[in-house]
């Protein structure tokens, strides 16, 4: 069976990559094929990487307060490239009040600080196996 491929992405100028790396390493240990973009990616670069790497899932980590720009923009670009079947989730310092509007753009889940890795694994199993 083909392994599920996951892109972990760090958008913008934010350098806080501990969470992104811990999640990338964890998903790899869970048996997923993980690609990490590295830092300082624009939404265009993230979507292009998702296309080139033919990933099934994109996980985006934002700790800079720019989530209200980044997530809708990534969702818009995925739609533009007819990649709506890619599962998108996110994490970082995202205030609870901001979450409903982001989920409404099609992001499947947002994991706030303190989320157990097991929750992310459960989420992945549920959606992509």
């Amino acid at each position: 069976m083909k392994k599920v491929r996951v892109l972990i992405a760090k958008p913008g100028l934010d350098g806080h990559d501990r969470g992104a790396k811990v999640v990338a390493k964890f998903l790899q240990e869970c048996g997923y094929e993980v690609v990490y973009t590295g830092l300082h990616q624009s939404p265009e670069q993230i979507v292009n990487a998702a296309l080139q790497e033919a990933v099934d899932v994109v996980g985006i980590s934002v700790l800079s307060g720019s989530h209200e720009y980044v997530f809708p923009e990534v969702m818009r670009l995925l739609k533009e490239k007819e990649m709506e079947d890619v599962l998108v989730f996110g994490g970082g310092t995202i205030p609870e009040d901001d979450i409903p509007a982001l989920l409404a753009t099609g992001v499947k889940a947002l994991f706030r600080p303190g989320t157990p890795l097991a929750d992310i694994q459960t989420f992945m199993k549920e959606h992509v196996g």
Binding site: G12, G15, T37, L39, H40, Y69, P113, P116
Partner: protein, 558 residues
């Protein structure tokens, strides 16, 4: 002979106690099979003189203000003057932050500390494509001297000291600060403060790098040389462990990598031909205060002793001030939880007390809402009051280094120094910190430590109250500070206005001189000061340097 008999008595008493312990543990096992510190140092049941073999008061501790400075760098420490209460602050526009500074100064804060937004930290302007959504969010937006003038409007720069947290673009921000001072009529020899300007840790900790490692160290030495000549009260570098720890390192790694960065900077400055005693007294440090109370205190004490020994033994420094490790502390942002946020006030208070008992020179206490956003005025006031209560109500500042002589604290201090020395030896073997960074050594050490910590949290070996124990759904979300998009629009408009009103030919010429200096050996501070004075934008000056130095790319190791 008297000593021998005492040692023998001690041994017998210890054995007697052990018999009792075995009996107790047989009946009621201890809470855990083994106890470890937050950074996984083994922690014993009890410490006695037997844990400090060969302990020599004068050699290992000395008196405050005396080598090896384990007990503090000043003779009287906080009895003379309390630590500087310096809340790191910056958000939105320069106008917004200027108001916050005036509020903090009115409330008894004693120094300023500027938090810049990500575009400034990365050396790009607010209208750069990657700045979208980030303007003013994590700090104040500064694009040109115009913003800096607004930021310090009505704040006399010869009276207040300022710390600026910015690294690769630091020379540009320092040049802007000095230009504002000049416009206020404050002479540079009266202007005091610190610019973080610690480029190497950017590659493995904070990740706000612009150019490659070797060029970044050159710029640092340029700043050191310039400040020693023209701004003698300025600290041109704050060698920072804070971000190393926040990126997921242990306390030992934080200490070791910070001092290894310091060693690299001293070596570079000496290689430039500077006399070690001409710049070493201006070096300053910055550490994290995390939750493991005694481990942190031991870390601070070991840091002072180890640095003093390195400066004396390795670099032959003579001036006692060259041996001083003076440091700023920030409580651990990473220890704050989004869940049950009021608990963060307690965490911060304990961390702040560790910093004070560890002998910090200045302190930032985090606000309880900072796991989610920049702090509100209410939250930042509680954080400042925490320091004021420590200073003026608890009595902890009344005696110098009150924990010295504790068998536990001294043993832990020794452990810390030993662990840090081992790391420093490894880094020396790799060819020093620049080569170690290029080889990805500290990067992979930190990833390993942060993964291990996360595993310990996942399986409950490490407890975070409200996160993996005593979990309870929060009743209502906190009221948080929100930066809206109008800041970004206004900032982009101001850039256009600055470009319209300046002498663009003079800017181009000045940027040309920055490029020329970068290609040669000339100290870059001089052309940068000139370019900034012509209202060259931060992104233009950094761009000119990137033209020559190239841009650093993240190797994306995980």
């Amino acid at each position: 002979m008297c000593m021998d008999r005492r040692d023998e008595t001690l041994r017998l008493e210890a054995e007697r106690w052990q018999v009792g312990v075995d009996k107790s543990v047989g009946k009621h096992p201890e809470r855990k099979a083994s106890f470890e510190s937050l950074s996984d140092l083994p922690i014993g049941r009890l410490y006695t003189p037997r844990d400090l073999p060969g302990f020599d008061y004068v050699e290992d501790l000395g008196f405050p203000g005396q080598y090896p400075f384990t007990r503090g760098v000043q003779n009287t420490m906080y009895r003379g003057r309390l630590w500087t209460m310096r809340q790191f602050s910056g958000f939105g526009s320069a106008e917004d932050t200027n108001q916050r500074y005036k509020y903090l100064l009115d409330n008894g804060q004693t120094g300023l500390s500027v938090a810049f937004h990500f575009p400034t930290l990365k050396g790009v302007n607010s209208d750069h494509p990657l700045s979208r959504g980030e303007v003013g969010k994590c700090g104040v937006a500064i694009d040109s001297l115009r913003d800096m003038e607004v930021l310090f409007d009505g704040i006399p720069l010869d009276k207040v000291t300022t710390s600026m947290t910015v690294n690769h673009p630091a020379p540009v921000l320092l040049a802007m600060y000095l230009a504002v001072a000049k416009k206020q009529g404050a002479s540079w020899d009266k202007v005091g403060g610190t610019v973080q300007n610690d480029p190497l840790k950017e590659f493995f900790a904070q990740k706000s790098y612009v150019w490659p490692p070797r060029e970044s160290v050159r710029l640092l030495v340029d700043t050191m040389e310039f400040c020693a000549k023209h701004v003698p009260k300025w600290h041109p570098v704050s060698i920072s462990g804070y971000h190393i720890r926040e990126a997921g390192s242990t306390a030992q790694q934080e200490l070791a990598f910070t001092l290894a960065d310091g060693i690299a900077y001293v070596e570079a400055a000496v290689a430039r031909g500077l006399d070690v005693d001409s710049f070493a007294p201006h070096l300053s440090f910055f550490f994290d205060a995390h939750l493991d109370f005694f481990e942190e205190i031991a870390k601070f004490r070991a840091a002072r002793r180890l640095w003093a020994r390195i400066m004396k033994e390795r670099f032959g420094a003579k001036d006692p001030k060259s041996l001083w490790l003076r440091f700023h502390t920030q409580t651990a942002g990473v220890s704050l939880t989004a869940q049950q946020p009021l608990n963060n006030i307690v965490r911060t208070a304990v961390e702040a007390m560790a910093a004070v008992l560890g002998g910090t020179q200045s302190l930032h206490t985090n606000s309880f809402d900072e796991a989610e956003a920049l702090p509100t005025e209410e939250a930042v006031t509680v954080a400042l009051r925490t320091q004021q209560i420590l200073a003026e109500e608890t009595g902890v500042a009344n005696t110098v280094d009150p924990l010295a002589g504790s068998y536990f604290v001294e043993a832990l201090t020794n452990e810390m120094e030993k662990a840090a020395r081992e790391y420093i030896r490894k880094i020396d073997d790799l060819g020093g910190m620049v080569a170690a960074v290029e080889a990805g050594y500290p990067q992979s050490e930190i990833i390993r430590a942060s993964m291990e910590f996360q595993r310990a949290v996942e399986d409950g070996r490490k407890v975070i109250v409200g996160v993996n124990k005593y979990v309870k759904k929060d009743a209502k979300p906190l009221h948080l500070l929100k930066i809206d998009d109008s800041v970004e629009r206004a900032q982009v408009a101001r850039i256009a206005e600055v470009k319209k009103n300046r002498d663009n030919a003079a800017v181009e010429a000045a940027l040309g001189r920055v490029r020329d200096a970068a290609r040669g050996q000339e100290n870059l501070m001089y052309p940068i000061v000139e370019a900034v004075g012509e209202y060259a934008l931060l992104g233009e000056v950094c761009g000119a340097l990137v033209d020559v130095f190239g841009a650093y790319q993240d190797p994306a190791i995980f």
